[in-house]
Every structure is written in C-alpha cells, then in structure tokens.
C-alpha cells in the first residue's frame, strides 16, 4: 500500500492549538489535491495506453505474419507446370508449417478433440452420429479444430457427437 505516514495520529498531542490545526488542515487538503492530480494523470495515461494496446495489440503477431505471407505471395508467383507441381505443393505446405510455428510462438495451440468425451465448454455439437467404436457422448468427427492461446480457449471445436449404434432386432 501507499505510504501513509502523514495520516498517523502522532500529532494529536497539541491538537487543541488552532494555529497548528489550521496548518494541518491546509496541509491535508493540499495533499488531497496533489493525490487527486496524480490519480487523474495516471488515469489519463492508463486510458491512452489501453487504447494503444487495443489498436496495436496484434502488431507483433502481424509483423511475423507478414514474413510468412511474403513467402506465400512469392510462391504464388511461380508458374505451375507438370514439372513443378510437386515442388509448388511442397512450397505451400511448408508455408502452412511456418504459419503453424508462428501460432506456437504466440502460445496458440490446437486442442485435441477427436475421440475425447464431449465437453460443452470446448466442443460445439453440430449433430450426432451412431458409432460402434466409441462410447456414446464422445467426439466422433471434428469439423473445426479447437484452439487455445496460452491457457485460454479462443475457439471451440465444431464436432459431431457419438451415440450408441441402433440395436438390431
């Protein structure tokens, strides 16, 4: 907490002296005004900083993204012929890998969903499907992967959920 020695009641001994009291009161009021001015400045800076962080929050990510995007654009400039189809494909696959490692550097990771028990906090059920190889209520198929950033879920998975297969009569 902030230093509050000025408010300790150690000077109450001569509290009855009006001159001293007046001086103390003036001092207390002026300290209040100073603190208020500090607070106002702090608040203004915090608001400015928050707005900058919101506006440019993705700058670091975007800058690294652009490096990979350069390679992507360069790859798309190549003429494709029968001879280089495979190298073109290898090139774009490599770029996808660079995007993936960019995500990792920013703490973004895929959350495995397939075969897991259905959990509404990270799975969005699109439909259900009878499955023999899975207990009911598990993730049968993943249409969209779930991702977390550090320890926060930033995108739920879109999945189908297993049900017991129909019993044969």
């Amino acid at each position: 907490m902030t230093d509050n020695k000025d408010t300790k009641p150690e000077d109450t001994a001569d509290a009855a002296d009006p001159t001293k009291l007046e001086a103390d009161l003036a001092k207390a009021k002026s300290e209040y005004l100073y603190l208020m001015a500090d607070f106002d400045n702090y608040r203004k800076n915090a608001i400015k900083e928050r707005s900058d962080l919101t506006k440019y929050g993705s700058e670091r990510f975007v800058r690294e993204f652009l490096t990979v995007f350069d390679n992507f654009e360069r790859a798309l400039e190549t003429e494709i012929s029968a001879d280089n189809v495979e190298s073109f494909r290898a090139g774009v696959t490599m770029i996808a890998g660079e995007f993936k490692s960019l995500l990792q550097r920013f703490g973004v990771e895929e959350i495995k969903s397939e075969g897991e028990q259905f959990d509404p906090s990270k799975h969005e059920a699109l439909s259900s499907e009878p499955r023999e190889d899975l207990p009911a209520g598990h993730v049968a198929r993943v249409f969209k992967k779930a991702y977390k950033m550090h320890d926060k879920l930033i995108r739920p998975a879109q999945v189908t959920v297993s049900t017991a297969p129909p019993t044969v009569n």
Copy 2:
C-alpha cells in the same frame, strides 16, 4: 477532473473553532485515505489489464486468422493430379486473398514503394543499381514490401535505390 467541492475554503469563517477544525482535519485525512485506496485499486486493475492486453492482444487477429488457416489446411489435404492443378492453385490464391482482406480489416496495408523517392524512414536500401528510367535516389526494386498498421509503419520496405546510369565515353 474529479469533484473537489470538499476542498473549497468556504468554511474558513469559523476556522478558529478547534473542535470544528479537528473534525475538518479528521474528515480531510479520511478522504485522503479513501482516495488513496481508490487509486491503489485503479492501479492494480490497470496493471492486470495491461498484462492481459499484452498477452492476449493478438487474440482477435489470431481468431480470424484461424478461420483462413482452416481453409488453407483443408486445401492442402486435396490430392493434386494433372486435372486439378489449376483448381488447387486457384484455391491457394483465394486463401492468400483472404489473408490480405484479414490484414485490411485490422488496418494493415501495403505502402507502395516502387518508383517512389527513396525515404529512409520507410525504405531500407539493400544496394543501388543504375537505372535509365528513374531519377537517381528512387526505389528501383522492392524485395520486401513496406506495411503500415493504421497510421503507423510496422515494417519498412527492403529496396534497391536507383543511381544515374554510367555515362558512355
């Protein structure tokens, strides 16, 4: 500014009354303590918020990035044969376009450099080259594009700079 009616000197008329003075002093001190506590709370919240904004600042961008990345990964899963080379290429070109419009939504735009007068604040000179079609000191070729985010340069261009062509003897 914060309301400061409590600190106006309107009650100085009976300032000599020690009881009143003591009460005023106690009030002023307690108001100081309340303000200090408010300030401390505000500061703690601001620090927490700043750290969250720094850690998750790119979250919004990353989330939209993932949507495009899904399509990219899906495109890479297709088998390429002689028949679908062109549609594969069209697919990845479309994805590059989606990345580009994602950048635009976040205020990120390419800054045109080619043919512009060399400007060290946004161009990084890699080398120079004699050019007949450009005045000296202009951007001859762009190896890396410059990008701005809103009104802020986030990446300088890497370029070669034109020089006058050698005079023929």
